[in-house]
Amino acid sequence: MTTLMNDPGTTGRFGDYGGRYVPESLIPACQEIEAAFRDAWADPGFRDRLTTLLTVYAGRPTPLTPARRLSEELGITLLLKREDLTHTGSHKINNVVGQALLAQRMGKRRLLAETGAGQHGVATATAAALLGLRATVFMGERDIERQELNVLRMHVLGAEVVPVTSGSRTLKDACNEAMRHWVASTDDSYYCLGSVLGPHPYPWMVREFQRVIGEEARAQCAAELPAAVPDYVVACVGGGSNAAGTFAGFIGTTARLVGVEAEGGAAATSGRAGVLHGFRSLVLQDEHGQVREAHSVAAGLDYPGIGPEHAHLRDGGRARYATVTDDEVVRALVRLARTEGIVAALESSHALAWVIRAAESGGIAPGSTVMLTLSGRGDKDIASIKELL
């Protein structure tokens, strides 16, 4: 168990998954990033700079909030790791600050990023502004229409938003396009990937940059809980970065790890092994191998794959992956808002919906302790919730 969630070595393999499935033209860039990351991650100066920015700029550590009224209703002890309180409103900032510092260290002038809901795009635009880098964000045309506010935020932050008109015109196509663009501009541009996806070293590097969630939560649980370790550790899974960062803090404990996917984007549950966007993992695809579009109420979970490390954790049974319906998710969001005064992101509400269902059905025993990562705030979702209420 202790060999899980470690350095995946130069091949970037997590069991059968991971790797570096990119065109030859990107190999040197990936190698360069891997080398730079290994060097930076071993450099206390880099780590200090990162910690300082996460602290004085991004608002870390984030609190662990006991959800008192909801806990009482559910008969459990529910603790919320509050990534919604970070600057820009989701855990995405942890990763992006790390990668932007790395890009700067590598002498790059521009960050490229894909975005679906726009949270990662906003975070990238933010980190770029902070460090004086340029930012170019690829976003599906359909997502641009659906997430107008985040597009405006990126503009205000000075980022260029490039509409992607190919394929389904959503996140998956934005990834393709970002990679295509990256191929043509590796000299001055750094591809700032938003989840534990992509070619090695991204899945590992992003997990390491998100590890701060789990490590803080672990220490906070130790202070908060008599048993020091919660019975369950739960996080939503789109690509899987907030879950990976969370799980990393608890991998060596007895906590049961649960990743929650959207029913309509459940790669861990209904995906088959495949290769997409540079890595091998579980991928939603039709019988012929064409990648399917994911569909859920949460734009940030509309990705047809999961990070390779999650596929590995699933195969080995160390983590389990569950799905919830859009309907459960919206109800969970409203319930948390009305019991605790916290409007969580639709993405994060997936984790919550599972906890509610499990607690109410006895799947989680009464009296259990549950640590849930609230990956982001729901302000961005208010308009779409309106129609679902």
Partner: protein, 259 residues
């Protein structure tokens, strides 16, 4: 049976090599396009197996792939059509890892070989990831073509040149596929480097759009793969005959050589 590489080596002896491309299923009569290419003097034909997320392709081939998928094109259906197709020059499959590894690389290679294909190009399966696939391909007498890029450092270029089969696919530039007019400086360098490293045929691909630049490029290697320029015409409604004529015009330019 001669391999793709043997066949290309034989043809290289008499001139520059031309490998035109078509996305399988992109239009109803696509196999006629393959035929037309052969008739126009192609030395081999590259057949794209359409994938939903063609990371290395530009807009033209993306669109051709989308159309093909929308028309219900599957690997099985392509192989069925290809099996019946004997055009006198080797056929090379080009697709992405996810289709190749659907069941296993071995099964995929066996199926290709059974349908008479002679080579395989998988742009998102680079050197580090191709070991098993290369073995499976070799077993089936299928040449697994590797790509080399302007960014590829010298020692790595040597590995690629050594482990590639059929030919070495030299990317003219760092961008995705698509038509461009000038001959990039870096392409010339890459061609020279590869020619120094290997005796295998070296073909340029990506952005080879018209006769003159094709001929210019070919001077730095053994020939060219022409894709987007043809596929754009196909998307615009060109008939197989017209595509064949365009391929023939490149054939002529290659044969006349360049300045």
């Amino acid at each position: 049976m001669t391999t793709l590489e043997e066949s290309l080596l034989a043809r290289r002896a008499t001139g520059r090599l031309l490998v035109p491309y078509v996305t399988a299923g992109a239009a109803p009569g696509w196999t006629d396009v393959v035929r037309a290419y052969a008739d126009a003097g192609a030395d081999a034909v590259e057949i794209g197996f359409p994938f939903s997320d063609p990371m290395l392709d530009g807009v033209t081939i993306q669109e051709a792939s989308d159309r093909a998928i929308a028309r219900g094109t599957t690997v099985t259906a392509i192989l069925d059509e290809v099996t019946a197709l004997d055009v006198g020059v080797p056929l090379v499959a080009m697709t992405y890892g996810n289709l190749v590894f659907q069941r296993s690389g071995a099964e995929f290679c066996a199926a290709l070989a059974a349908s008479g294909l002679r080579g395989l190009i998988v742009p998102d399966v680079p050197l580090e990831e191709c070991g098993e696939l290369a073995g499976a391909a070799a077993k089936e007498g299928l040449d697994l073509v590797l790509l080399a890029a302007p960014s590829t450092p010298r020692p790595r270029l040597r590995d690629i040149a050594e482990r590639s089969r059929g030919f070495v696919y030299a990317l003219t530039r760092m961008g995705t596929t698509g038509e461009r007019d000038e001959v990039p400086e870096q392409a010339a360098r890459l061609g020279r480097d590869l020619k120094e490293l290997t005796d295998r045929p070296v073909l340029f691909g990506f952005g080879v759009s018209s006769p003159r630049p094709a001929a210019d490029l070919a001077r730095h290697a053994d020939g060219v793969v022409v894709a987007s320029a043809l596929m754009r015409r196909l998307l615009d409604g060109a008939r197989p005959r017209e595509l064949g004529e365009y391929a023939a015009s490149i054939r002529r330019a290659l044969d006349q050589g360049a300045r």
